[in-house]
Symmetry: none
Subunit: 195 residues, 4 copies
């Protein structure tokens, strides 16, 4: 047998690329930057990925999948809607902050490779099913449509991602706790619940 493909190498390429794409941008990162960063020869990059595009696409898809699957599991578990929402806010929003590289790539240059619509649709469905039981209690929101719900979700979700990105890259004194705090407040206020 010849050598087998080495998952460690594959991940190393992915990790270095993610960092570079996020810091310098997809288009300002050259394959030779990745070569320099990983220490692998060019050819090796291309035995693991067909193209530069495929690298971003993989970063986005695998990053998303990891996050989303966990969210899904958490929502499938026992517990009141309130409890689940609390988990979402306290556990999964912070987790996004841990992978800002991923977010940067998701939102900016690679947006063409990102199929973000599909992701948003799935997230809408998940969230809507979660929020539905809570709507009954709120007279005002009783007939919140899926469309409005989606508008809300997109604004919050993408807003949070962008905010997280800004918080990192800029001198703005924006902290993670401000963001989760604000989200909690909005939800408590809107649904009349206490998280």
């Amino acid at each position: 047998m010849a050598r087998m493909k080495d998952e460690t190498k594959r991940l190393s390429i992915l990790e270095s690329s993610k960092m570079l794409f996020s810091q310098k941008g997809f288009f300002n990162t050259s394959i030779s930057d990745i070569v320099r960063e990983t220490g692998f020869p060019v050819g090796t990059i291309y035995t693991y990925f067909k193209s530069k595009d495929e690298i971003v696409r993989t970063i986005v898809e695998e990053g998303w999948q990891q996050w989303y699957e966990q969210v899904e599991q958490a929502c499938a578990s026992e517990g009141s809607p309130e409890a689940k929402i609390r988990i979402l806010i306290d556990r999964f929003i912070p987790r996004l902050f841990d992978d800002l590289d991923f977010i940067s790539i998701l939102l900016t240059e690679a947006i063409d490779y990102t199929r973000i619509e599909a992701k948003v649709e799935k997230l809408t469905d998940l969230t809507f099913s979660l929020v539905k039981p809570m709507l009954a209690r709120s007279q005002m929101l009783q007939d919140l449509s899926r469309d409005s719900m989606q508008a809300a979700l997109i604004i919050f979700f993408l807003g949070i991602l962008d905010a997280a990105r800004l918080a990192r890259s800029s001198s703005i004194g924006l902290k993670e706790s401000h963001i989760t705090g604000f989200m909690k407040m909005i939800i408590e206020n809107t649904f009349g619940v206490s998280l």
Copy 2:
């Protein structure tokens, strides 16, 4: 006379570039694309702008300035905070939708040239001054800090921009009215006002 002609050309370059950057992305648009689109010779592009970067920067700065100045004026005018907020939502958010090209550029590839932090800071100050009188009425929000306010603003502002971008580019059935409607609801709910 010569002055007029110059300004026309300058705007023409800006307009074509904005369209191209927004549709194909900054890095996928070459100067020769701009040449083709405008019909001007390369040299001419460079007599009006020092570099490709300067073109984006100009698009962003001028686009922002136009929008922001009007917002500022509206807020400086007479009227209750509620009235002003209503104007913001009903007049200036929709205006953002009219210039999605500008937004796309602002948010994605050109983000390096965008100095978005400065813009957000100014917007925070403006909004905070606007909202302050309303906070007094809300027991819950009484001690909302500027930082939290900024977190909120960033999330909403960038979230709306991203949502607008998505609404345009994708098959998601997201409409302008969903977005403004949602914003109104949130604010009414949060501040206990009726817009």
Copy 3:
């Protein structure tokens, strides 16, 4: 006004490329070989030709056109069919030998870019119209079809080209005069004429 495209440069690129393609083959000639040979920078090659392919295609088309137009003129002039055929053999076959680079390219690697069928069709028409009056005299050939004529022509024409190529490149003692002499003999013999 800026500089104008320089026909001298264009021809220089064409000439160098023809020599290189012919000697080393199309695929074994790199753009940087052409750069080295011409002394022009890469960029310059590409301001005159869109691609490497376009260079071969141009060599073949322009080379063919030059030769064919002259053949056509000669055949359009006054004179008996025999005289015209003599001219063809004595003047235009030798001329092919003068541009063996062109022939090598035509026949070998670039054959995909060559549209040789179209060329052969035109040549068949021309030759057939020329030979027709002579057919009447030959009982045997009286009903030579255009198809057979074309078979003959292709065999001779391509055969001669290949022979010329071999004559140059190899140690075979094959001389131009052998080829034209043989052609004359065949024709005299076949049509019962004296050239």
Copy 4:
């Protein structure tokens, strides 16, 4: 047993390569194309052939040898020169058409690996010895030199190969029968024989 299997693989590589070289050209066929086509791993290709070049060379040499040996045998057998020539035309020219892949490779890209001169020399000797007795009868051809004979042979032989190649690849309505028919006619006419 092991030997059998080996030879099968070797021939399989040769067959696939011939097809690919002929269809896409030598330079446009990569070793990994051959890998894909044969289903063998790269390493295996290289245990049977030292290099890509050696594959073409082998295709050409073995293809030639097969054809030539049979020609030689046929010519060595009893019978009048006319009978032998008839056999050549009716049996061996058609056989060339059966292996157009081989011809394509022989004539075009692989010409560097082809040592075609040596082949032509041998063929000239064979043909000359065959034709010699027929020359005596023809006053005109009596002093046909070997050189002229070779010119003729090259023109016809390569011309036929090229014609065969064209007949296959193009929309030209050129048929095998046109080619053999034409050859017969030329020979009958030139040598005053009836085939």
